[in-house]
């Protein structure tokens, strides 16, 4: 008997933690890490639901399959993110997002 509500609640809290990081940290690397936390909660949910699906079913395996894809996606994202960090550091000499306010109109 797996307590799915616990898992979902836990992943919800983790999601909130990640969000907190995104909202408050100004270091780009930490931002990246926060996003990774959020990503992982999503993967966790997929796995939880795949386990929750009754029986050997297409739905169950598909959940895991999607999770695999997501792991790959998240890894890619880290790679690109770090490339950006390097570029940012080279151009601005800082990885502080507050200083990279190019989005302002």
């Amino acid at each position: 008997m797996i307590p799915f509500d616990d898992i979902l609640a836990g992943s919800g809290i983790l999601f909130a933690v990640g969000t907190f990081g995104v909202l408050t940290r100004r270091n780009f690397i930490l931002l990246l890490i926060s996003v990774e936390i959020i990503m992982n909660t999503a993967i966790l949910n997929f796995i939880a639901f795949s386990a929750y699906a009754p029986g050997p079913s297409i739905l169950g395996v598909t959940g895991q399959a999607v999770a695999v894809v997501l792991v790959g996606l998240a890894a890619t994202e880290v790679a690109v993110g770090l490339a950006i960090v390097l570029a940012l550091n080279r151009v601005r000499g800082s990885v502080d997002v507050a200083k990279a306010m190019d989005l302002k109109l």
Binding site: A53, P54, L59, T62
Partner: protein, 505 residues
């Protein structure tokens, strides 16, 4: 997997578009090649089209693109790549292909970034083909948007002095309409619990929609009416049209009037009217109101215009008002007339906008009072103007006549004495064309620059193609009508077609 010819058509159209974009200096050859290839495939479809397959779409190809899994036990919702045509979409395909060929030829001498220009034209065409063949709501919407974007750039980059304003107005109007349309379509799918987004089986879809309560249907129908009506355009949502037409380059105007407006009417016939019967019944008076308003409004506004392009633009509003009226009647005669009239209007308004463009090239202005007696200097252009005007006001033996006659006859059958209203507007329509011709073509020449030239060959070729079709289908309308009536909307109404008409009374 069976590949439908329609898929080949789409691949051809989009592939040719891509090639045109990168073709650089030789873009016009690539564009013409693509356009002609598209036309050939369309003619092939015309030849292969079966007149006896009355109840289903032809050249059907349905592949599930992906499926949203529903909760365990519920069927889920699939998005399909579903294409197919019937007699209602085939004329539009033909129109689209022909207009593209004619426009490319007309613009043979385009100087300003031809690769971009022809590429965008072809992209519009490809999107239009997609709209007319797609039988899945999301696919339909995707192609719908594909059509709108290149037109924005055509107006905004190649247009006249106020092109920025016009392009933005066009964009905002059509996208607000698109959003409303999309929301209504999605709501229809969800509220009706469709198993997939495709609507290849009209009877089945009508069955799903029967479970939608009337209140919701009225809202959905209203949303679709607005979404398609802006495109049509119906008064009072029409003011984007004159601006867009006036500022757009000639080819853009031709596409706008001849093809983009038809998307609205096509959407109404394909989606709004057959699928939402309760909403239709409730809102039909509103449809008639808008239709009459558009007819009268368009006619009178044309009369007050000085700019030739604006005049033609407002006359489009008038004609599309008749189309809306004919669709609104929702009888066999009415729907047939609407499709025929849209086809006719596509050819005729395309011709008239080409003429307006040529008038502008030759005389440097489109202001009607400041040019006169052009018959003596540019007889060919003047003749074309006369043919176009006479065709537009419904001269027999030209394609508009059977269409308008049927539309008004159908109106009489359903609405009796109300037919006076559009018919009186018909007199005004005749008045503004005849008056325009009197001022532009006849009388002693004035306001004609010394270097005014008659039509260059490419422009004339473009027009001649359209004139030939206008005459052909004017004399032999059954060539088209026989096709139009082969559709699931008409299908079961044939004797021996099953007895129950799912679509039309």
């Amino acid at each position: 997997m069976e590949i439908s010819p329609l898929t080949i058509l789409l691949v051809l159209a989009f592939g040719g578009t891509a090639l045109t974009f990168v073709a650089g200096r030789s873009a016009r050859f690539v564009a013409l090649g693509t356009a002609i290839a598209t036309l050939v495939v369309t003619l092939g479809l015309l030849a292969m089209f079966s007149l006896s397959e009355l109840l289903s779409y032809q050249f059907l190809q349905v592949n599930t693109w992906f499926t949203f899994m529903g909760a365990p036990g519920s069927p889920g919702l699939s998005i399909d790549y579903a294409v197919g045509i019937d007699g209602i979409s085939l004329p539009f395909l033909l129109l689209s292909a022909v207009i593209t060929v004619a426009t490319v030829i007309y613009h043979w001498g385009e100087e300003k970034n031809p690769a971009g220009f022809f590429g965008l034209l072809l992209l519009t065409n490809a999107g239009l083909l997609g709209v007319f063949v797609s039988l899945d709501i999301l696919l339909f919407f995707v192609f719908w948007e594909v059509v709108l974007i290149p037109m924005f750039f055509l107006i905004g980059h190649w247009g006249g002095p106020r092109r920025q304003y016009a392009a933005l107005k066009f964009f905002v109007y059509t996208h607000v309409a698109s959003v409303v349309m999309l929301v209504s379509l999605l709501a229809m799918v969800f509220l009706g619990h469709w198993p997939s987004f495709d609507f290849t089986d009209m009877t089945a879809v009508q069955g799903y929609n029967a479970s939608i309560p009337e209140v919701a249907q009225v809202f959905l129908f209203g949303g679709l009416l607005f979404g398609f009506g802006v495109k049509l355009p119906m008064v009072p949502f029409h003011t984007w049209l004159p601006d867009a037409h006036v500022e757009a380059p000639t080819g853009g105007s031709v596409f706008l009037a001849a093809l983009l407006l038809k998307m609205g009417g096509y959407g109404l016939i394909r989606l709004a009217f057959p699928l939402l019967s309760l909403g239709r019944e409730a809102l039909t008076p509103l449809v008639f109101f808008f239709a009459f308003l558009s007819i009268v409004w368009g006619a009178y506004l044309s009369l007050s215009q000085r700019d030739l392009k604006r005049l033609v633009a407002y006359s489009s509003i008038n004609h599309m008002g008749v189309v809306l009226l004919a669709i609104g009647l929702w009888t066999q005669l009415g729907v047939m007339a609407a499709v025929l009239l849209m086809f006719a209007h596509g050819l005729v308004s395309g011709l008239l906008f080409m003429i307006s463009g040529s008038v502008h090239h030759s005389f440097g202005t489109r202001d009607i009072p400041s040019v006169g007696g052009m018959t003596s200097r540019t007889p060919i252009l003047s003749t074309m103007l006369m043919v176009g005007s006479l065709a537009s006001l419904g001269l027999p033996a030209l394609v508009s006549f059977p269409a308008e006659f049927s539309a008004f006859l159908a109106t009489w059958e359903s609405l009796r004495y109300l037919v006076f209203l559009p018919l009186m507007a018909l007199v005004v329509t005749a008045a503004f064309y005849i008056w325009m011709m009197q001022r532009l073509s006849f009388g002693p020449p004035h306001g004609i620059p010394a270097d005014a030239k008659d039509l260059p060959l490419p422009e004339m070729m473009g027009m001649v193609i359209l004139v030939a079709l206008i005459v052909l289908y004017g004399i032999l309308p059954f060539l088209l009508v026989h096709i139009i009536t082969v559709s699931p909307i008409f299908g079961a109404c044939y004797p021996g077609g099953g007895g129950v008409c799912p679509g039309l009374p």
